[in-house]
Symmetry: C2
Subunit: 431 residues, 2 copies
């Protein structure tokens, strides 16, 4: 399906919507993307660009003539314009903003007055509101005459000085006397979002309601726009994709990012890992005398480090999720530490025994078997504590535990594992 | 906030909705959960249970008297009932189903006729539909008189034999002549879901529309219920949480799962890892002669394995995401392999040089420096190929690459890393 011949596009691909087109484009190589682009329906270009992964959007925009970008941005909505402007150089972006229709321009400027992670920036400003002094009959007529469907069953009511007053449900609107004012039937919204709230918190809030649209208002009560459950879904998806990318030691990147870009981004993670690895090597190097005496130590030492690594990763994963959902606090931290300790204790006793038995039969050395068992137990317990402790500390320091947590944890489990195992062996076998 | 004194509940917690209560309960220990439970508003219990993490739901239900469970299930909606019945023993569940109101009972039974991951099971069957032969005026009156708000702007139209016919927007309904039939203004829905479709595919489909509710229909055209964007968000969240848990070598578990449950679940991952670790040890053991001669090899060997591990993890993470979004296919697989190869080649050349230089100065052995550089380059390139190859093969075999991928990959990078490095050293230093 991906080896698209551009001139066959018509039949198969005519029905795709912008989301589906973005999906297709993301799975193409750069060359294929460039062949395809001119054949797309020009009325969809701005929505497609807006739906694309940021890397791909940037790649395509960088290759388009300025005139085409301008035309695409001007043809789209303010939300789409914002996504495209984001990947443009500052100067080009300001030039294009000047050429937008005055309505879109003011919507875009309102968005740009917010920080990147504030919900005010992404609130849809292009939304149908009704005035509190309007007559019920006027509103019903307006709904009848509008050619687009309403996005929700509730209509947001705004005063003449743009203050948000609440919402009116269609049921109430239809039941109200035609000659009464909207203000007579307006109801307080169950939930409003503050415009400065962070995107992820706003998304959680929207998720906890059964509403599709939630109004976003300023501190002074002015109506900014609406944040939808579709927006929330998108934000969650971005959040999880980024967390998973970090867990896999990669930045969230396009499937077909340019080789040099990918190389550079991934090199950072590899470089940090190398530091960790050299630290572990340094610890091993401290015990070269015992390694020369007993080569079995070199054979077995990765087991100690790796069992600690997995245990730590398990506690870390649970803790990072708990921190992300705000379910870990000072109040339950010690209970969590205790639980993780007991889990690690039981598992370490179990697996240390297994390893000891295997080592005893493999190397016929009971002292070695005892040393590795003790080293595994210590390393797994330290790992479990670190798995809870490290992300909590990182979060307090304002560092994202999903990014830095596992690198630091691996350092701990490697260093402790090698140190305890080889150090213990040195004491027993060399003294 | 978590050290809740049960008798202070009234003031602070009165305004919490079911989602927020579930969130609070999940962050409590078992003992605290039991203290809190009797103080909750009994009309919310079924929604709270339904919102809870499956582990926690099971824990609480297991501790409640049968009568209380029955009362809670009967008081809730069919969707909530389903969530609670899921964590009950088969027999208890069937007994409770018999006591449900006939409407809820038939909704629950309709759901249970589907498999666990089919969208038909989770489609909301308790939805307001209109008959195609109803008069427009009748429908408008019904909307006016209904005391609950409509969930969406579109109304689903069903024929007398329960076939799904399409939808009617409120705008059209208000504009239509009062005496005409609904069938005159019904429009084909942009999207309908097949009831047998998998939950994750259904969720992706809903996400790609701007709709809040999508109708679910049987093969024969019969209307089953609706799947909402809120459901889709929940499914995505579960999907990502599970994937992240697997990446961290843990099953998706409750923060305060019982120690024995956690121990048992995590033991599986630790056991699999131990097999991997012993395989690596076995490879190291093959080269004990050269390890005795040159202790620096033991000091440096974790570096080779770990650089391969990170490279592989990077390719694996990208590939697993591409497979999850269906963006990797036969058509672009070789392009992806090629790109990952070049990225790994560049990075391996860069970091192998760094390691070689450090080793040269540390051990003053240029041959060793060359051997480790070559081993790192080979291992990183093999890792990048495996990172793409392994998940693709696993997916073809019907195994979830997010679960098995990284264990297999680590085995490959450890075995190849140790084999190439120690094997190369054996050839050079021992022959």
């Amino acid at each position: 399906a991906l080896a698209i011949e551009p001139f066959q596009l018509e039949d198969e691909y005519k029905e795709l919507n912008a989301t589906q087109w973005a999906w297709v484009i993301e799975s193409l190589t750069k060359e294929q993307r460039l062949i395809l682009w001119p054949h797309l329906d020009s009325s969809m270009l701005s929505s497609i660009l807006s739906e694309l992964h940021e890397d791909v959007r940037q790649q395509i925009v960088a290759l388009l003539p300025k005139k085409d970008i301008e035309a695409t941005v001007c043809a789209g909505t303010s939300v789409e314009a914002l996504d495209i402007l984001e990947v443009l150089p500052q100067k080009t972006a300001s030039n294009i903003i000047k050429k937008l229709s005055s309505e879109t321009q003011s919507e875009v400027e309102a968005s740009l007055s917010y920080e990147e992670d504030e919900v005010g920036r992404y609130a849809n400003k292009h939304v149908y509101t009704i005035a509190d002094d309007a007559l019920v009959s006027t509103v019903i007529t307006a709904i009848k005459n509008s050619d687009t469907n309403l996005e929700s069953n509730a209509l947001f009511v705004v005063s003449s000085d743009l203050k948000f007053l609440g919402e009116v449900s269609l049921n109430d609107l239809l039941n109200a006397p035609k000659s009464s004012n909207v203000s007579a039937i307006v109801e307080r919204s169950d939930m409003v979002l503050n415009d400065k709230e962070s995107l992820i918190e706003a998304s959680k809030a929207v998720q906890s309601t059964q509403k599709s649209l939630v109004p976003v208002i300023k501190e002074n009560g002015q109506f900014v726009g609406v944040f939808s459950i579709h927006d929330a879904l998108y934000i969650f998806q971005e959040f999880y994709e980024a967390q998973m990318a970090h867990m896999g030691k990669v930045n969230d990147e396009d499937l077909f990012s340019p080789v040099l870009t990918s190389t550079r981004r991934r090199a950072v993670w590899l470089g940090i890992n190398l530091l960790t690895a050299f630290l572990a090597s340094f610890v091993i190097g401290m015990f070269d005398k015992v390694l020369i005496e007993i080569v079995a130590l070199a054979v077995l030492m990765p087991i100690v480090a790796s069992m600690g690594g997995i245990t730590g990763s398990q506690s870390l994963t649970l803790t990072i999720r708990g921190l992300a959902t705000n379910q870990i606090s000072q109040g339950n931290l010690s209970a969590l530490h205790k639980k993780e300790f007991y889990v690690a204790l039981l598992n370490s006793l179990c697996w240390a025994t297994v390893v000891a038995v295997i080592c005893y039969f493999w190397f016929e050395n009971s002292v070695l078997a005892v040393i590795i068992a003790i080293a595994i137990i210590i390393n797994m317990i330290v790992a479990a504590f670190s798995g809870v402790f490290i992300p909590v500390i990182l979060e307090k320091m304002g560092v994202d535990p999903a990014i830095a947590g596992s690198v630091i944890l691996t350092t701990v489990t490697d260093v402790v594992g090698f140190f305890v195992f080889l150090g213990g062996a040195s004491i027993i076998f060399l003294w």
